[in-house]
Symmetry: C2
Subunit: 214 residues, 2 copies
DNA sequence: GTCTATACATGGATAGAC
DNA sequence: GTCTATCCATGTATAGAC
């Protein structure tokens, strides 16, 4: 096998990636339970039974999808934790923006699937664990903005996570150019949510600039 | 029919109310699609086919449930709109608290079902309309706190609505006494989310008192 | 790795007696 | 208004040829 296989990965028909893209779109549009494996296969350009050469079962597709969205965000979050910030809140702002944009950038709001009852299953343990790490990172970014007892910090962290998913849902329902402003707006909102002292417009400008410089 | 029918409504077995209670619990715990009509019937103490004497179909049960949760909140919201408030934000605080408590008080987080794909169907038009009224009320309560262009006001309104659902989800996952504090905490968070200038602890005390006096 | 064909379980809904 | 019985569509997953 000496030579240069320079041909592109050729993600055109029936590959894993096609299946995932199809599933992402349909799961979020029609719901997980309501989406049939036939529909996923059809959109991926293959037959239903062929799905099972790429994935063990339907849950396996969903789990792969979820892990794929949360893992990059958790990785980014943990990188942020080792970074100094010039303006307080800049890292939180950056993370929320990143998170929202990732969710919005995929052609589907996979964030909305986080709360599915199926996700309590065994196959999703890895996903849940990664999401916990992300939640912990959020708490660590909120904490310096607003000293808080354990329980309240936990609540605020979860609310910020929920905010991201909510924002993505809103973005889906509005025009393209309005949607483009949602990630930054969500990040603004997260900072307000985190701190008791809000974030007036003049401080926001500083914050955004600092975040983008990260 | 002269006399005093003082016997209680006798909601014991198989009534509509039983079915609704059973469905609420199962839909939110296991998901709508994953809950079978058989399971609902069993928990309500009747046979599966008997469900169809009370409801036209499965969607009909869900729609009834959703209308039942959003309607009281919308009514309360519209009553609030005609009320003056001593402290800015008191009405918003009161509404979020009411909304969260209602959702939390039912044995199930029906709020989490709002985003179900099935809810796009025809049968749910009434529910969606009521929810729009509620969203409009939220915007009217946010607007005086924070003058905002149309699009941003809309976003903030939706984020507050999402916040309520998120808070309820969190409350389900924690101890009873922690959960008891969630409605007020969610209301606090909503005020922070609404305004650019936050809400420090000392103002919060005023706000809570004013809201409770409504 | 993709296909055809099909097994097999599940679940919503209906018929009709009591 | 509740039951028993059942229909029938749907949908996941498997078997096995190419």
């Amino acid at each position: 096998m000496p030579s240069h296989d320079l041909s592109p990965p050729a993600v055109t028909r029936g590959g894993r990636a096609q299946v995932l893209a199809a599933a992402a779109e349909l799961f979020t549009r029609d719901g997980y339970a309501a989406t049939t494996t036939r529909a996923v296969a059809e959109r991926a350009g293959i037959r239903q039974s062929t799905l099972y050469h790429h994935f063990a079962n339907k849950d396996d597709i969903l789990a792969t999808l979820l892990e794929g969205t949360v893992a990059p965000t958790a990785a980014y979050a943990e990188r942020l934790l080792t970074t100094a910030e010039a303006v307080p809140g800049a890292r939180l702002w950056a993370l929320v923006r990143f998170n929202t944009e990732l969710l919005l950038g995929g052609l589907s709001n996979l964030g909305a699937l986080y709360q599915l009852p199926e996700v309590r299953g065994e196959r999703f343990a890895g996903f849940r664990q990664t999401r916990c790490r992300l939640a912990a990172a959020y708490r660590e970014l909120i904490s310096p903005l607003q000293p808080l007892p354990e329980a309240e910090l936990r609540l605020r962290g979860e609310l910020v996570l929920g905010l991201v998913e909510g924002a993505v849902a809103v973005a889906r329902g509005c025009s393209e150019q309005d949607a483009a402003e949602v990630p930054a707006a969500a990040a603004d909102a997260a900072v307000r949510l985190a701190s008791d002292y809000g974030c007036p417009a003049e401080h926001l400008a500083l914050l955004r600039a600092a975040a983008l410089a990260l």
